[in-house]
């Protein structure tokens, strides 16, 4: 009774990917991959996703530590808030970012007048949009690792005279490193595929804000074969990420 729907489910997940491989214009693939627009979109995607991941690690790891280690009132509310971008439609996230960080936004106004920084419709905006959407992946992964880590190692470090910061840097962080790496990889993959928040907040300008997903969407209307090629590249990157994650961190903690 269960096998039939299970097979149907599997086919549903795998067939579209197989279709992508079958319909791919394999003969012209090398030329198409070498096209400047493709390379430009790929470079922009990789740079923005990596930058967004760095931002997420720098802010997300301390945030996860706060949620896992420090008792404070409203901690459950904060944890719920952190996971909101996970379920929020990315477009809504993009609109929200515009309202706050846009040129006439609450914070954006001040950023522009005080520092001359404009976020919307810039590469910096792409990074902000991707970080907003991808951060929860990192926070949840790292918080889980922190909760699973044996806190008595931290106590042992404290009895040896280590301050809170030293304990975190020299004991906690090395112990939860697998969780941080897994979270960062997930975070990076999510940032790489980001579409909704990016196009809403950062727009779609070739060279500055047109990342791979945006290029795929655009190409689909003008040149379907190009869209397939771009999709293949994203698929290949995802598979590589998944494979590295499984082998190095998921199966052997």
């Amino acid at each position: 009774m269960l096998v039939l729907p299970a097979v149907a489910g599997l086919a549903f997940l795998v067939l579209p990917l197989a279709g992508l491989l079958i319909r791919a214009p394999w003969s012209t693939l090398p030329q198409r991959l070498a096209e400047p627009q493709v390379l430009e979109a790929l470079r922009l995607s990789l740079v923005c996703a990596t930058a967004a991941t760095v931002v997420c690690v720098l802010c997300g790891v301390p945030l996860a530590w706060l949620l896992a280690r420090v008792e404070f009132p409203g901690r459950r509310v904060v944890r719920a808030l952190v996971t909101v971008p996970l379920v929020l439609p990315p477009v809504v996230g993009g609109v929200a970012l515009l309202l706050v960080l846009g040129r006439r936004g609450l914070v954006g106004q001040w950023l522009e007048s005080a520092f001359g920084i404009t976020l919307p419709f810039t590469t910096l905006g792409v990074i902000v949009a991707e970080a907003f959407v991808a951060m929860p992946f990192l926070v949840i992964s790292v918080e889980g690792a922190l909760r699973a880590a044996d806190r008595r190692f931290e106590e042992a470090a404290a009895t040896l005279g280590a301050s809170r910061w030293t304990v975190f840097r020299r004991v906690t962080l090395p112990l939860i490193m697998p969780g941080v790496v897994a979270g960062a990889v997930l975070c990076w993959a999510r940032a790489l595929g980001e579409f909704g928040a990016t196009i809403t907040f950062a727009g779609n300008f070739p060279g500055t804000t047109r990342t791979m997903p945006l290029a795929v969407y655009l190409a689909l209307e003008t040149d379907p074969d190009a869209a397939i090629v771009l999709s293949l590249v994203l698929l290949a990157v995802s598979v590589v990420v998944l494979a590295s994650l499984r082998d190095r961190w998921v199966n052997s903690p």
Binding site: R152, E155, A156, A157, T159, L160, G161, A162, P174
Partner: protein, 346 residues
């Protein structure tokens, strides 16, 4: 009263449990906190280290108050039950961790660590990660790591419990030597009377969060004051009322060689109890009729549980067991010579 060493009154309230003990340890002295599981030994140790907040009391070390300081500010070294060596650091870096936290340069910290590893006989394992060390080696690295911060108070939580019997013997004597070299105060927690007797200068026995007995190991072993301590040191113990050379324990008068009046304890070894199928001739001073409650192996001998006017253990040889043809439920005569008993004020 000296200001040196550790002087502590530890009060910790927990749901359904309160720890309230006073502990004084002189510099160079080793005190063992001995007690059954759940007595509060580890709670006391963690309170001394500052790892759990105290509900009351105070701690001072060499005259300086300690209880308001965070763990990292206390001049302590702690060896945990399962050592808690940092798995990502080599043995050397584990030992160098404390000095590094005290602001010593990396090179100097490593020099100190190498010297300590040498002292515990592990100079050749310095680059090994903890998972490659045996239990006994990990224990010695943990000790070196705790000594590396040059503590004034050394805390050891069941330092030998995780070791197998053979390693334990070896590490116990090494630990004794290292603790003898240490000039600060040492508090060690154990539930093993042998560890306590060998390692400690003084025993403090805790039951249900309070101190029930303390003294030199030989004194505690000779004059147990609770059933728990008596079982630990392997003695039969009774509380009664002394009247000259007689102590009334319930209905049974026990004759002793000591003169004693008022509340008193009487203790005697299970090996001092003789068993007879029929009422023996002559006149042993202490003779009573008992029922056999159970029989079990005890080392090379057999331990017979006796019910009756007093419950007692009797240790007899397997040959004697065969001669007597004992079985549970059987009625039997038991006797103890007055000179084999030991009475002391309660």
């Amino acid at each position: 009263m000296t200001a040196d060493g550790l002087r502590a009154t530890l009060v910790v309230h927990r749901p359904a449990f309160t720890l309230d003990i006073t502990l004084d340890v002189a510099p160079g002295e080793v005190v063992a906190l001995l007690g059954p599981n759940g007595a509060g030994k580890t709670t006391a140790l963690r309170a001394l280290a500052g790892l759990i907040p105290m509900s009351g009391g105070h701690i001072s070390l060499d005259g300086r108050p300690l209880h308001h300081l965070a763990p990292e500010q206390r001049p302590i070294g702690m060896v945990f039950q399962d050592y808690l060596l940092f798995p990502h650091l080599s043995a050397l870096d584990n030992v160098a961790f404390g000095p590094r936290c005290q602001g010593v340069s990396k090179a100097e910290a490593r020099r100190v660590a190498a010297a300590l590893l040498e002292r515990v006989g592990l100079a050749d394992r310095a680059t090994d990660k903890p998972r490659r060390l045996s239990g006994g080696q990990a224990q010695r690295v943990a000790l070196a790591r705790a000594l590396a911060v040059r503590p004034r108070l050394m805390l050891l939580d069941e330092p030998l419990a995780a070791l197998d019997a053979h390693t334990r013997l070896e590490i116990r004597s090494q630990l004794r030597r290292h603790l003898a070299d240490f000039d600060g105060a040492t508090v060690l927690v154990t539930h093993d009377p042998l560890d306590a007797m060998v390692l400690a200068d003084r025993l403090v026995v805790i039951e249900s969060g309070v101190v029930v007995q303390q003294g030199a190991p030989a004194e505690v072993a000779r004059r147990p004051r609770t059933g728990y301590v008596a079982r630990l040191v392997g003695l039969n113990l009774y509380r009664g009322i002394g009247d000259g050379t007689r102590v009334e324990v319930g209905e049974l008068p026990l004759h002793t060689s000591e003169q004693l009046d008022g509340p008193a304890f009487v203790a005697f070894s299970p090996a001092a109890v003789a068993l007879y199928r029929t009422r023996p001739d002559g006149s042993p001073r202490n003779l009573w009729q008992a029922t056999i409650g159970g029989i079990e192996r005890h080392g090379d001998n057999v331990r017979v549980h006796l019910d009756g006017p007093i419950t007692a253990f009797a240790d007899i040889t397997p040959a004697a067991l065969a001669d007597l043809e004992l079985s549970p439920g059987q009625r039997i005569w038991a006797s103890v010579k007055a000179t084999e008993t030991h009475a002391y004020p309660a």
